[in-house]
Symmetry: C2
Subunit: 311 residues, 2 copies
């Protein structure tokens, strides 16, 4: 297996919170770090805390006009500015100017999120060949204080040109998605878990920058396959909700014939697919708007090459 | 012990959902019953489903301008109308006209709510002498399908003239507060539990209307004593959150010296009161705005007199 190398140390590291203004772990941590960022210092760099959507944070809502984390399309970022652009489009341009343009782009972005789903610690990435993100994920799985909690790798396989996520503007990135936590609520256990994960990720970058070689490994990842929608009636209303036997079972196998939805009348609706799937983001509050009951993933194995700085 | 009597059967019964537009159990059930209310029919009456805050429901938010469930003050309801009144004040007047004026006022209102707190089934009432509500609560505790789940009586002791809750406009009322459920999420188990509770409550009214006498009983209620606030810094930011050992322990005793908050730095803050309290609405999302970390209740015993229709 070949070795993957990176030319220069990662010195421009950003910790983003409040990309969604009501996902409170990142909001609280980044606000704290903006006041005192000493915790983000390492020998080889100092990470920068950044509040991505301050107006949404102020109102404790996911977004003002549209989802900021779906606003980073190259088409929109490069379009000419317009007074009537949605707030998040304007904000995405500002963030892109600051952290995304090629010469000055961030080496690494942590994007801190919460979900109402029972997803434990989810490490989400979008670029198949971002081996640095995968080595960091492995490092978090092994070294972080909360290793006893499930810590899974979630892969959204999108061509870079179609990627509209904030994390896409950096050279390398990882989205931390912690749950379950209701929108607008801060749970201390999840807050501390996220703090530990970020610190552990910064340690990884520091060790990498200092020349440590990370050996090849094989890993299990949950790759997005499709989305499962709520059944809706002719009037547009949802007819059936996540079945109690599926609720909170993120990442566990859903087999053909298993109960999937329950109607308000109490009837069961079963999963009728042909193969086992691994649901994630089950009953996520923010996904009702797009009628997504859960994200369908398949479990795949993937070999990550050895990683080191180019000598 | 004396007997409490009620002069006439309860025939005007209302089931309110969506008083808070993002508390989904009541929203879903009431929308369903508006389309087909046959489930709300009993021998002696037919209950009426009513969506209290349709604009908030449409946007899936708690309220548009201000909390509808704090908008029923007699002062505001009787003030002259004004174009610039907040939406919820206008809506409260409409609801009051329809269900609250003396001659036509509702005999009973169920007000359906959810909480992000781990409060199981909470039966909330505000009028100490609403013995009918207390007999219904007892009936729900004994008869409803979900009797195995904790089902507690929660009493807010406010003089009627200061009461700003929707439930206050009816002759008798009970607020059903089910959790934990994130805002904007429908959990099937909680939806079905609420449906069963409402049906069981309607059964109680029907049996009462048919002349059944309900004997006196002694009950345990959680009476609101005060509110516990989050510690905030000079900059207004919350300094410490609900301690993991208190989180989800609604209605369990919090003793002097028990951990209560945890700071972002990881330090514990202890409860320093002199007597045991029973926290409820622990880490409720909607209460951050008023800086309420939890509601302090004390457990008291109360004897409810025999209840029957006046012959």
């Amino acid at each position: 297996m070949s070795t993957s190398t990176i030319g220069v140390p990662l010195t421009r590291v950003v910790v983003m919170g409040g990309t969604h203004g009501n996902e409170m772990s990142g909001v609280c941590l980044v606000k704290k770090w903006i006041k005192d960022s000493s915790e983000l210092c390492r020998e080889t760099f100092k990470a920068e805390p950044f509040l991505a959507n301050p107006r949404a944070v102020e109102r404790c809502v996911r977004f003002i006009d549209q989802d900021l984390n779906r606003s980073f399309s190259m088409e929109k970022l490069s379009a000419s500015e317009c007074e009537n652009d949605p707030y998040e489009i304007k904000r995405a341009r500002e963030i892109y100017q600051r952290y995304g343009l090629n010469l000055s782009s961030a080496d690494f972005i942590f994007d801190l999120h919460n979900t109402t789903s029972n997803m434990g610690t989810t490490l989400l990435y979008c670029k198949l060949d971002d081996y640095l993100a995968l080595h960091m994920a492995r490092y978090l799985q092994i070294n972080c204080d909360d290793a006893s909690l499930p810590c899974r790798i979630f892969f959204i396989d999108i061509p870079e040109k179609d990627n509209v996520y904030l994390q896409n503007i950096a050279k390398h990135s990882l989205t931390l998605e912690l749950g379950p936590q209701p929108q607008g609520v801060t749970r201390a256990d999840i807050l501390i878990r996220m703090k530990n994960l970020v610190n552990c990720g910064l340690d990884f970058i520091d060790v990498f920058n200092q020349g440590k070689e990370f050996p090849s490994f094989e890993t299990e990842i949950y790759r997005v396959a499709s989305k499962m929608h709520y059944p809706r009636g002719a009037d547009g209303e949802i007819q059936a909700f996540i079945h109690p036997k599926l609720q909170d079972n993120d990442y566990l196998p859903l087999n053909p014939g298993d109960p999937m939805f329950k109607t308000i009348q109490g009837e069961d609706i079963f999963y009728e697919g042909e193969k086992t799937i691994y649901p994630a983001f089950i009953n996520e509050a923010a996904y009702y708007g797009n009628n997504v009951a859960f994200v369908v993933t398949e479990k795949v194995h993937f070999t990550v090459p050895t990683l080191r700085l180019k000598h």
